[in-house]
């Protein structure tokens, strides 16, 4: 910031010192040229001004010319070499002249530029006056040592040299004004010409201006100014005193004594005064800079910044505050804060708090983040975030408040809370929890409801291990299987499993999870878990009732059918027996009633035929040909059955693997009947595994080509297995190994497969469980009729099972 403002200052400042320096340089160049021209053209007025006055020597004129050029180069930041050349010559000439004066020798430089044909004093005509020589020596030193860009130190040198030269010039000029040419002159050495004195103070001021220009970059006036002033005063005093003495005064007569004493007092006094003034200016400038900085900070701050004094009146009100509250700064400055930005309901509290702090020094609000209500100029109120500090200054305290309008934040916080509450309530009502699971790191996040479902404290971090402790022992294997699959594939999954709660109760959970991948391909699952315990329990109860009902219906319909068959058969049987009895009695009579016996025998035959008709009718009833023949894709048929059985499989915690051959040709047959067989095998497998808890309930459904243009479907379970001795009995009607079974499923299935010209068989596995397979030809030879009592009854039974499962 500092350099920022410094640069702005530089750009704004008028480059008058540069112009002054350049002007001075041009002036003395012109002076030198003019006098030289006077010498060469013998125009005495240019050299001497007045006949009784000392002339400016050729060397002095040349030195002015060279010093002017050098100064011009320095002031305008021109090339370095002319400075060195010019100042070098000037330095050489002036130093040699001083040597001549001091040691009384002639270095042969006095007449270098031609003879001095004007002689006012007897000694060394054409030689530089001593004060002029010293001034030029100082000037050349300053110019030679000044680098192209002046540093503070070189500026000091140039400035002080300039001061001395200017002072000497002024003193000699003043001496002329006082009527003597003897300022800084002694003995019979050359006196300084009046226009030389003018040239000297112009040269001095030119150098001062050059040095000034550098110094103003950090302050209004050069640091060396007090010293320079003191030197100027002291030099001038000495010059004037010396001129007075030369003019005939006793050295310590009244006037010279006053001049010398006053000058010696004035020099440090004036220097000190200038120094003090400089300090005051510097402080004022620093204060202005600091004020400017503060204003810039205040106005660019995003927060409202409001400062009040101990009376509660506003002393600072920044741009952000103007924007937020709607007041203009000048409207509210000096007004009481309470009446401006504090809502009426809080004004008294604010006044009391301020009074309490002023009385007791007890401040409750400092250094804290507060939330309050503020009022705009239109009276509308809004929430703000606020921090108050006391400005650490002596005297009456003042306070600064930093405020921020948090309406939007409050609004979004409120909306967020609302939406969270909404979600939480929805989760609670639907007994559904949600979770996320980063597969790579196993970071798991649970919603509140999920914690409630699992009955864990919300402080407990969720891990798979924690989930495992609640999982029902029988479901742990399939849970790990599910986790493995999720890790491997990252694909969506849907899953049901049970929890074993500490109070030994069981919960049923239904989980749906969607796998997503981040930019780095890491899998994260987002999922929902619903507690379906009540639904599952009522489904189970319903299922039980349904199957009991189905059983009852089946048994009673069988009973009704057998009663009906018995009735139909008993009627003619009754006739046969009655007629036969009558016939015997008629033959046994004496005489035998042969005609009657013949009649009753005829009726016996008739009733026998009638009984036979009944049986034929029954057969016809059961062998209705309603099986259809079509192309059946066994893979498709199996997939449909698997899809229908999905929930049944999950309910039984069975892990199903289907290995369906890609190149399986379609078979010919009744799709529904074949699906009934597949379903029957699948349900049998489920039943066989229902008691298995020590190993995964693995079920494999496989389709493949079989030899002899046949397709084979295999259902392999990990259940209780088969007794090899009873394998064939399995397929007999009414043979069952199941407590609740009717024992007709497999016999019916076999008759269906045989009607498809296929084969159904069973074999024990090498490991646990059994494998049931059927194999049917792609094209049954000449077989279009599918007839069997079993097939039709079985189809009814299986259709009923399918129906039951669809309804679930």
């Amino acid at each position: 910031m500092e350099t920022e403002f410094g640069r702005i200052e530089t750009v704004r400042s008028t480059p008058w010192p540069t112009r002054l320096a350049a002007g001075s340089a041009v002036f003395i160049v012109a002076l030198g040229l003019t006098v030289l021209a006077g010498w060469f053209s013998h125009t005495l007025a240019l050299v001497q001004i007045l006949p009784q006055l000392p002339p400016m020597t050729r060397n002095a004129a040349a030195c002015f010319l060279l010093c002017g050029l050098a100064l011009l180069c320095v002031a305008l930041k021109g090339p370095r070499w002319p400075v060195v050349v010019c100042a070098g010559i000037v330095g050489t000439v002036s130093v040699l002249t001083i040597v001549e004066d001091v040691f009384g020798v002639d270095a042969g430089i006095d007449g270098l530029l031609g003879p001095s044909y004007i002689t006012l004093r007897p000694s060394s005509p054409g030689r530089l006056a001593p004060v002029t020589a010293i001034c030029f020596a100082l000037a050349s030193l300053g110019l030679l040592l000044a680098p192209k860009t002046l540093s503070k130190r070189s500026a000091l040198l140039v400035g002080l040299n300039g001061s001395i030269i200017a002072a000497a010039g002024i003193a000699t000029s003043m001496a002329f004004a006082l009527g003597t040419s003897d300022a800084f002159g002694w003995g019979d050495v050359t006196r300084t010409a009046p226009h030389t004195t003018v040239g000297l103070w112009v040269l001095g001021f030119g150098m001062l201006a050059t040095a000034w220009h550098v110094e103003t970059e950090t302050a209004d006036t050069p640091r060396w100014l007090p010293l320079s002033v003191a030197i100027v005063v002291a030099t001038s005093t000495v010059g004037v005193w010396q001129a007075l003495v030369a003019d005939g005064y006793q050295p310590f007569a009244l006037l010279p004594a006053i001049v010398l004493g006053g000058g010696c007092l004035m020099a440090p006094a004036l220097g000190l005064t200038v120094y003090m003034t400089q300090q005051a200016h510097a402080q004022a400038a620093a204060l202005r800079l600091s004020e400017a900085r503060k204003a810039a900070i205040l106005d660019s701050a995003l927060d409202c910044i409001v400062t009040i004094d101990h009376q509660g009146c506003i002393t600072e009100f920044n741009l952000a505050a103007e924007r937020t509250f709607g007041y203009r700064r000048d409207e509210v400055m000096g007004k009481e804060l309470a009446g401006v930005v504090i809502p009426p309901s809080l004004q008294d509290e604010h006044r009391r708090g301020l009074a309490r702090y002023l009385a007791t020094g007890e401040g409750r609000v400092f250094g804290k983040r507060l939330e309050m209500t503020a009022a705009r100029d239109d009276g509308s109120e809004f929430p703000v975030e606020l921090a108050i500090t006391r400005i650490p200054l002596k005297g009456a305290p003042s306070f600064t408040g930093y405020l921020r309008d948090i309406t939007e934040r409050k609004q979004s916080e409120k909306e967020l809370r609302r939406s969270e509450a909404f979600l939480a309530e929805a989760q609670r009502l639907s007994a559904t929890g949600s979770f996320s699971w980063r597969v790579a790191t196993d970071e798991i996040m649970w919603s509140e409801q999920l914690y409630r479902i699992f009955e864990f404290d919300q402080a407990v971090p969720v891990t798979l291990e924690l989930v495992r402790t609640r999982t029902h022992p029988e479901d742990i294997l399939s849970m790990y299987d599910m986790i493995d699959r999720a890790r491997r594939t990252g694909s969506d999954f849907e899953y049901e499993h049970r929890l074993h709660m500490p109070d030994r109760s069981v919960k049923y959970l239904h989980m749906v999870a969607h796998g997503t991948r981040d930019q780095d391909g890491r899998v994260e699952y987002i999922g929902a878990v619903q507690d379906v315990t009540e639904r599952r329990l009522s489904e189970e109860a319903l299922g039980k009732v349904r199957s009991e009902l189905a059983h009852v219906a089946r048994v009673s319909s069988l009973g009704a059918m057998s009663a009906s068959i018995a009735h139909e058969v008993n009627q003619p049987l009754s006739g046969i027996i009655t007629n036969a009895s009558t016939c015997l009695r008629m033959l046994a009579a004496d005489p035998p009633n042969v005609d009657g016996a013949r009649e009753t025998a005829r009726r016996t035959i008739r009733d026998g035929n009638r009984a036979s008709d009944v049986v034929t009718r029954l057969r016809a009833l059961f062998s209705k040909k309603n099986a259809t023949t079509e192309w059946v894709d066994l893979n498709e048929a199996a997939s449909e059955v698997i899809a229908l059985s999905r929930s049944e499989l999950q309910r039984n915690r069975v892990i199903l693997r289907s290995e369906l051959a890609d190149d399986l040709p379609p078979v010919t047959g009744d799709r529904v009947q074949l699906q009934q067989v597949i379903l029957n095998l699948l349900l049998n497998a489920l039943d066989a595994m229902s008691g298995v808890d020590d190993r995964p309930r693995q079920l494999v459904i496989r389709t493949e080509r079989d030899e002899g243009d046949r397709a084979r479907l295999t259902v392999q379970d990990a259940g209780v297995g088969l007794d090899p001795q009873n394998v064939e009995r399995l397929f007999e009607a009414f043979y069952t190994t199941k407590s609740g079974g009717m024992g007709i499923g497999l016999s019916v299935s076999r008759s269906i497969i045989e009607n498809h010209h296929g084969r159904l068989w069973a074999a024990p596995n090498e490991g646990p469980g059994a494998t049931f397979s059927f194999s049917i030809p792609y094209r049954p030879e000449g077989a279009t009729s599918v007839h069997s009592l079993g097939a039709i009854r079985a189809s009814d039974v299986a259709t009923e099972q399918l129906q039951v499962m669809r309804n679930q």
């Binding site: 009627q571 003619p572 049987l573 009638r610």
Partner: protein, 130 residues
């Protein structure tokens, strides 16, 4: 006395009510061979409309018939104050039906097919009731 009672037995009218024609053909013949007078009817309504209602000493009645069933006819007769001994016959071998029928006043319940001796015993038992 013995002869009189015998005659009364021999001359007793037995009515058969059954919707099955073969029963209506065969059963009267057998009963006649056994010495009874027999009338056969295809329904309860036909029997009630006939003149035999008052004469009948034993009623052999099928249970399941279209229209009026056997037990319906039994109730109707009771309603009219006619106490005719009834022997039920049925092709449905439902053992649970028998006790309830006997309880309601039937002399016997025979399941088809039945033997001639079982029939004779039942009819004699019915006639003895009178």
């Amino acid at each position: 006395m013995v002869i009189a009672s015998l005659v009364s037995v021999v001359g007793s009218l037995v009515s058969v009510v059954d919707d099955d024609e073969s029963v209506r053909e065969s059963l009267p013949d057998l009963l006649r061979e056994l010495g009874f007078e027999v009338e056969a009817f295809s329904s309860g309504e036909e029997f009630l409309a006939s003149e035999c209602v008052g004469e009948t000493k034993c009623l052999i009645l099928d249970i399941a018939m279209p229209g009026m069933s056997g037990p319906d006819l039994q109730r109707e007769l009771t309603h009219r104050g006619l106490e005719i001994p009834i022997v039920f016959i049925t092709a449905n071998r439902d053992e649970t039906v028998r006790p309830s029928l006997l309880k309601q006043g039937a002399v016997e319940c025979l399941f088809k097919p039945f033997s001639d001796t079982a029939l004779l015993d039942a009819v004699n038992a019915a006639l003895r009731v009178k």
